[in-house]
Subunit: 346 residues, 2 copies
C-alpha cells in the first residue's frame, strides 16, 4: 500500500530522537560553551518544514534562554543582494539536506561578516555544513518520503539540546531523556485512531491553531495536511485567529486545535469554548482529558511531558492524520504530486 | 448599501498618505538622527494587519538600511512572562489603536530594559504611545470600518519615511512625494473593474502569492479576503509555495499573484508560467502588461513607482476585491460578523 515509506519514517521517530540526544549531546555542550557571550540574538534561515522548526526556536530560546530570534528573509540575501548587517547575531541555518541555496547563502553571509555560524542538518558534507563554524547533525538516516517528518522532530530536538546546554540546564537535559519514550507512546496511541480519519474524506479546508511553543506545530501540521492530502489547511495562533479569521467560521468548519498543558492552556481552553459555541468541527490534540471530551476527533497525548517538549509529540497526530487522509483519498503519501525533496529556490 | 464606510476609507488613502508624508517628515527626520548608532537590529511587536506592516519593515529596513528585523513573539512577554533580553534592539510597536495589550507589553518591556522605543499609531495618547520614547503618528482620522485599510497603508508609509530618513536618502524622499498620486491612479483604475469580481461569488478558497517587499501584501490581502468575504485565503511567498503547497493545486484553483517590477519579477514570472501550465485561475496584480495578459482577472498598477513603494498600491486591488466579494455574497463589509476593532489578546 502506498504510504509505507512515510509511515515507516514516522514510526522511526522514537529511535531518531534517542540517537540525536545520545550522539549530539557532547558536541552541542562544547559548541554552547564556545558560543557563550558571542551574540545578542539569533538569526535563523530555513524554508518549509525547517522554517517551522525555526518558529519553535523563537519560543524556546526566548522563553528558556532569553535570546531573541529573528527569522531571516532569504530573498534579501539572494534576489535583492542586500544582506543586512549581522552585528551581534549568531547565524543559524536549518536544512535537512543542507542544499537549499537561499539558506546556504545566509550562512555564507554570516561567515563573510565574521559572525559565529551553526548548521543544523542531516548532511555534514553539505554546502551549508561546510560553510558553518559548528554543525549539529540530525542523525535521522536518509529521509525517503518527500514530506519531512523525522527530520522535523529531529530538528526540534537539536534545538532543544542547544537550548538546554546554553544554560547548562540539568533539569531540561534530564527531561530530554524521556522524550523518545513519550514519542513511542504517542505513535502507539494515535495509530489506533486512524480509521476515524475517514470522516474527513470530503473536507476541503481546515484551520490549525496553536500558540506559544506549539505555534510551530500548527504551521507544521498545516504544511503536512496541504502537502499530503491536497486540502487547504491554514495555521494560526489563537491570538491572530481572534483578530480576524474567526469571522469566516461557518457551522461545521473543521478546526484542529493543539492544547497542551502549560502557559497557554487557559487561552486554548477559552478558544475551544468559543469554537464549541460556534458549532465548529473540533479535532483536538491535547494531554487534558476534559478538552479532549469536546472533540469530534480527539488525539490524546501522553501526560507528564513538559510544555517545551510537547511540540515533538504534538505534531505526530498531524503527521499520521495527513497520511491517513491522503490514503482515504487515494493519493500517494510517499510521492505527493508536484513536490520534490530539495527545492532550489533563490 | 453596506460597505459605504469601508469604501470611503479605501478612497481616503491618497489623502491619508499625503498627510502623513507632510506632517510626520520633520518628526521622523529628528528621531532618525537621535536613533543613529543606538541599535543593531529592530524588534517589532504587532498583531493582525499591523503585523503585515511589520513584514514590510523586514524587507524595507533590510534591503535599504541593512538593518535586521525580528518580529516579537508577544506571548513570550505576556503568557510566558519570559521576555528576551533586548540588548542591541530598537523596540517598535505598530498598532493603530495603540491598545492591543500584548503589543503594549513588548514596548513596555523595551523601556524597562532601557532600550530605545518607537510607537507607530493613530493615537498619540494611547498606552503604547505613552510608553514609547518616540511616536510616529498615522494621521488617518478615525477608522470606522472594522477591517483596517487606510491605517495599513499609512503604517507602511510611516515605515518608508523612517527608512528614508535613517539614511538621509533624498532620492527615496522624493519618490515618497509621488506616492499619493500613484495611490489615486490605482484606486481609479481598479474601481472600474469591480463588477468582474462577481465571477468569484462561489469561490471557497484561494491562495495569494507575493515575494520580497510584496510578501507583506500577500499576507494583508489574504487577511482582508478572509475577514470580509468569509473565504479561506492563504498567503505564501513564491519560494515557500514551491516547497510544498503547490502539490495541492487542482485545475482551476484560484491564485492571486502580486508581480511588480523589480528584483523579484523574474521569479514571479516563472511562477505565473508554471501556474498557467497547471490551469490555475489567475488573478494578477502587476505593472507588467505581458503578465497581466495571462490573468483571468487583471489588476493593473500604475507604472513608474519603485518596487519599495509598490506595496502601498499593490494592496489596493485586494482591499477592493474583498469589499466587492463581500457585497456579491450579501455580507456586510463594514461590520464583518464575529470581529471587533480592538482585540484584547494577551
Amino acid at each position: 500500500m502506498s504510504g509505507e515509506i512515510l509511515k515507516r519514517e514516522i514510526n522511526e521517530q522514537p529511535e531518531v530522537l534517542k540517537r540525536i540526544v545520545e550522539q549530539e549531546s557532547h558536541n552541542v555542550q562544547e559548541l554552547a560553551l564556545t558560543l557563550q557571550g558571542t551574540f545578542t540574538y539569533v538569526m535563523i534561515a530555513a524554508r518549509g518544514t525547517s522554517d517551522n522548526a525555526a518558529r519553535y526556536a523563537k519560543y524556546l530560546l526566548g522563553a528558556h534562554n532569553q535570546i531573541p530570534v529573528a527569522l531571516a528573509a532569504p530573498s534579501l540575501f539572494t534576489l535583492y543582494r542586500k544582506p543586512p548587517s549581522l552585528e551581534g547575531a549568531l547565524v543559524m541555518g536549518i536544512s535537512q539536506s543542507g542544499r537549499s541555496p537561499d539558506v546556504v547563502s545566509v550562512v555564507e553571509e554570516g561567515k563573510r561578516q565574521g559572525r559565529p555560524t551553526v548548521a543544523i542538518t542531516n548532511d555534514p558534507q553539505s554546502p551549508m555544513a561546510r560553510n558553518a563554524d559548528y554543525v549539529i547533525q540530525l542523525h535521522t538516516g536518509p529521509e525517503k518520503a518527500v514530506a519531512a517528518t523525522k527530520t522535523y522532530t529531529a530538528s526540534l530536538t537539536a534545538l532543544a539540546l542547544l537550548s538546554a546546554h546554553l544554560d547548562a540546564n540539568q533539569e531540561a537535559l534530564a527531561q530530554l531523556q524521556k522524550l523518545p519514550e513519550a514519542m513511542q507512546q504517542t505513535i502507539d496511541k494515535i495509530s489506533g485512531l486512524l480509521p476515524r480519519v475517514e470522516r474527513y474524506r470530503y473536507m476541503d479546508h481546515c484551520s490549525v491553531i496553536g500558540r506559544g511553543f506549539n505555534y510551530s506545530t500548527a504551521f507544521e501540521i498545516s504544511l503536512k495536511i496541504t502537502e499530503l492530502s491536497q486540502t487547504v489547511a491554514e495555521p494560526y495562533s489563537s491570538a491572530d485567529f481572534l483578530h480576524g479569521p474567526i469571522a469566516m467560521l461557518s457551522k461545521g468548519f473543521p478546526m484542529m486545535v493543539i492544547a497542551t498543558r502549560g502557559s497557554v492552556i487557559d487561552d486554548m481552553r477559552a478558544l475551544i469554548e468559543r469554537l464549541v459555541e460556534l458549532n465548529s468541527e473540533l479535532l483536538i490534540i491535547s494531554d487534558e482529558p476534559d478538552l479532549l471530551d469536546e472533540a469530534h476527533l480527539a488525539f490524546p497525548l501522553p501526560t507528564g511531558l513538559p510544555e517545551w517538549l510537547s511540540p515533538m509529540v504534538a505534531v505526530v497526530p498531524g503527521q499520521l492524520f495527513s497520511l491517513a487522509l491522503a490514503q482515504a483519498r487515494g493519493l500517494d503519501p510517499d510521492h505527493p504530486e508536484g513536490l520534490s525533496k530539495i527545492t532550489e529556490t533563490w
